[in-house]
């Protein structure tokens, strides 16, 4: 790192006993440093983007004459590796032009905030998105929101698949369509809409139904991640099972999202974690589940789609909160509850690591 600077979102605060708090109040980001002598506070103050690491260490020694050179270097090194510091003199990022850097500036700030890996220029997560190829299956309530978010985030290659046409009853929640689109294939309308949203990415589409595992395997060819936003054919041996097996065979991470009215749930699966079928097997059977009643509002559909998009972005950038192999979500009827299920692989599962 050339000119270390504390990330603005991680600005240090000193507590009453001298402890230094970094990273605000966010779980997964925030940390503390017991600092009775004031070394960390002084070093962080010196990391204002005007000094090299060596200059920070040298300045630290002038303030604390008891520190050896090695000790001062170590204090600086710990802070440089902490994830709370960025380079105020970043390396070049020529893979993104000025327009892209303006468009994705808020994304970069977000990734800088949550990413604790020291980076050369901070655009690394955005470059991963630009190079990603994502297949979106289903463009209804979940898929329309997911596809919008992935295109807006700058996923470089999106392929959209859906068999249906736009109907009036879709318009209470499916964000990519208007009254002028009624009767038109969702795949075509969605692709055109997303190209207008982001002309820098490659969006293709096909009007097709996935009717067999072979269909799904064909569609997956050449993609890095699957966003499964379709619910037909239904489980227990339906499209999610097909996706789980095909993605396991291909080593492809995937995300599946949906809702049962106010209950929103999303599954995240990929190499290294238990497969969909194993996690599902660990969830006790629920009487009355799985009827897929059609009632839904924009918020319910939107939350499921945006959670799918978030998890795809996490898989692509590597900024995943926990390893894949779980369901998560929420219910709009209970602000105090959340959905989370993770179960180990079944012994002998041929699709798990």
């Amino acid at each position: 790192m050339r000119r270390p600077r504390v990330k603005p979102e991680h600005a240090p605060h000193r507590l009453g006993d001298g402890t230094v708090r970094l990273g605000g109040v966010l779980y997964g980001v925030a940390s503390e440093i017991p600092d009775p002598e004031g070394w960390a506070w002084a070093a962080l103050t010196l990391m204002d983007g005007t000094r090299s690491p060596g200059q920070v260490a040298a300045a630290l020694r002038t303030r604390f004459i008891g520190l050896t050179r090695e000790e001062a270097d170590d204090i600086v090194a710990v802070l440089l590796d902490s994830g709370h510091v960025e380079d105020a003199a970043p390396g070049p990022c020529e893979e993104l032009d000025a327009r892209e850097k303006e468009r994705y500036s808020r994304s970069r700030d977000y990734f800088r905030w949550i990413d604790l890996t020291p980076r050369d220029h901070g655009w690394e997560p955005q470059l991963a998105l630009k190079g990603a190829r994502v297949l979106v299956l289903g463009l209804g309530g979940t898929g329309s929101h997911a596809a919008w978010s992935l295109a807006a985030a700058g996923v470089g290659r999106l392929h959209l698949v859906d068999p249906d046409v736009v109907e009036l009853s879709n318009l209470n929640r499916q964000v990519l369509y208007t009254e002028a689109d009624l009767g038109r294939p969702k795949a075509d309308v969605a692709a055109a809409r997303l190209r207008r949203l982001n002309s820098a990415i490659d969006v293709t589409a096909e009007r097709a139904a996935v009717t067999s595992p072979r269909d799904l395997a064909r569609l997956l060819d050449g993609f890095d991640v699957l966003a499964l936003c379709a619910d037909r054919p239904r489980e227990p041996y339906g499209i999610r099972t097909w996706a789980s097996r095909a993605c396991a065979r291909g080593g492809i991470p995937w995300v599946s999202g949906g809702y049962d009215g106010p209950l929103v749930s999303v599954g995240v699966f990929g190499p290294g974690g238990p497969c969909f079928e194993c996690v599902r097997a660990g969830i006790p059977a629920q009487p009355g589940a799985g009827y897929a009643w059609p009632g839904v509002t924009g918020p319910s559909a939107g939350l499921s789609g945006q959670l799918v998009a978030n998890d795809v972005l996490a898989l692509v950038t590597g900024l995943t909160p926990v390893p894949p192999g779980y369901f998560h979500g929420l219910t709009l009827l209970d602000p105090d509850a959340h959905v989370y299920a993770r179960h180990p692989s079944r012994p002998g599962c041929e699709f798990c690591p």
Binding site: L22, G23, V25, L26, Y27, G28, A30, S31, E32, I33, P34, D35, E37, W39, A40, G66, L67, T68, E70, E71, D74, I75, V78, L79, S82
Partner: protein, 41 residues
């Protein structure tokens, strides 16, 4: 068989001065409440 002689007092090394970063746990952070209301733009 030889043994390492105990260091003289003037030879004893002082503990190395260092800092330790501790990532905060769930109960120590405000994952649920954002008192400022956050952004909406």
């Amino acid at each position: 068989m030889s043994s390492t002689p105990a260091p003289e007092p003037w030879q004893e090394r002082k503990p190395r001065k260092k800092i330790v970063i501790r990532r905060l746990g769930k109960t120590e952070t405000a994952t649920v409440v954002q008192p400022s209301g956050g952004n909406s733009n």
